[in-house]
Symmetry: C2
Subunit: 252 residues, 2 copies
DNA sequence: AGCGCTCCAATTGCATGCAGTTTGGCGGTC
DNA sequence: GACCGCCAAACTGCATGCAATTGGAGCGCT
């Protein structure tokens, strides 16, 4: 039996959805860095819609964990902590093991061709920016999820993969794409062979190594947000001996 | 090392969030059945807010998969197909295995007491309605997720657990709570013992048996929506030989 | 009856307006 | 110069209003 094929997936073509897609892409390509401000009327003006719509879009993205929404404050692109990043990868590993378990040996020739075509695209993009490589690599995984034809699985894999994207831009050292591409090819061929256990193991290792390459260590100095950097020290401030800190300008 | 303790979890106390919580609860307690209509102004009037807010709340719930939003149409409580229900349970199993893996042997005495107290509450509620039992059972799992102190994990477990609640109300035979309660107790004691593999196995079996008890079979006649029943036949319509169907009244 | 058409009430999609809150800078004081 | 309070600009929270779309009642035709 071939893997279930195609379904209606997409967000409707609301103005809200359009803005969501645009912002999502801007975020995962790091055009918008974590912490970037997202004022409602600026967005509205930029996309030619009212604040109501921009606001609604921000709400959706907040539900996906890509932006942070604080009452009466300007929304910002989410800045996951190192621990959250690690948690996201752990969840992602489990979800994607499930994906390949369902897919092993059930892909049609057309689907395998589609996967290979995508990896070819990744290959061609090697000359480009890191951001594009990361986006393509992420989209490979989302493409896989789509092939399960389980809308829920697609949604969760997409979300968590986007979040991982976000953290890569925060904590990653300069990305090395080669190995990821090779691992993608290995995944495809294992999927075609149909050994579920093997391909789950491959996926596990693939994501784990991406996570380990990326989340080098709890290195607070690479975290962009002063609040995060200072978080571990906050306890001392709360306790008896207050540590005096020199005045530091917030990254504007 | 004890499991990480407590964090800021909550939705802010927006009007939007209040309505979300109210609707979510109404849905999982089956006060609102799958397919129930949710007109924006009716909600607004009921909760004493404008349509804007009600609309926003519906958007959030749609992002969680609890309501379905079709352009220019009245929003309705989601009606997952049998397959989607099964998929949701599969995902849930993986996520909750992850939860107990992280928690095994790392719970504080206070946390174990909290869990036991919750199961006691489940026990006391056995005389009440099924809806309340189901809600409490679900909240037990969410409570566990909270103890991992991983906001992402909490979010996903909560969402998928709510979706499972929803499907239980659709496809389940009259609920038998006894065994679930016993299994919850077994989980707690295994968590306290700290054998990760054992407790993962317990959780897997627990959820799987709930799913199997609930999702009795792909019995389309119990599915509420004609469209779902006919979905498998849609392919034929698309192909060469068009199947003529007698006119049937839609469930109003 | 059964079928198709028209038209109106119900409902959504979206923009705008107003009130309340936060931010950041400016001037005053030490 | 450093600190503090005040004020205007910026921004969000929310309600309301208007145009566009939908669904279904009513009605005529076969």
């Amino acid at each position: 039996m071939p893997a279930r094929a195609s379904s209606k997936t997409s967000e409707s073509s609301d103005k809200v959805s359009v803005i969501c897609r645009a912002l999502r892409r801007a975020i995962i390509e790091q055009a918008l860095e974590p912490g970037a401000k997202l004022p409602e009327d600026a967005l509205g003006e930029r996309f030619g819609v009212s604040r109501t719509i921009a606001r609604h879009a921000l709400g959706q993205l907040a539900a996906e964990g890509l932006v942070e929404l604080r009452r009466n404050r300007i929304a910002v692109v989410a800045t996951p902590s190192w621990q959250e990043a690690r948690d996201a990868f752990d969840i992602r590993i489990e979800l994607e093991r499930l994906v390949v378990r369902q897919l092993a040996g059930k892909l049609t020739k057309a689907q395998i061709a589609e996967l290979n075509a995508h990896v070819d695209a990744e290959d061609r993009a090697r000359g480009g920016t890191d951001a594009v490589s990361i986006r393509l690599a992420t989209e490979f995984h989302i493409l896989l999820a789509h092939m399960t034809n389980s809308p829920i699985l697609v949604r969760y894999v997409s979300e968590v993969a986007y979040r991982c994207c976000l953290t890569l831009s925060l904590y990653s050292r300069p990305h090395s794409t080669e190995c990821a591409i090779n691992e993608h090819r290995a995944l495809i061929s294992a999927l075609a062979k149909g050994d579920a256990a093997k391909v789950m193991e491959l996926m596990h290792h693939h994501l784990d190594s991406v996570a380990n390459r990326a989340l080098v260590a709890p290195t607070p100095q690479r975290g962009r947000d002063l609040l995060d950097i200072l978080a571990p020290y906050a306890d001392e401030v709360a306790s008896d001996r207050v540590v005096k800190l020199p005045k530091v300008a917030r990254r504007s």
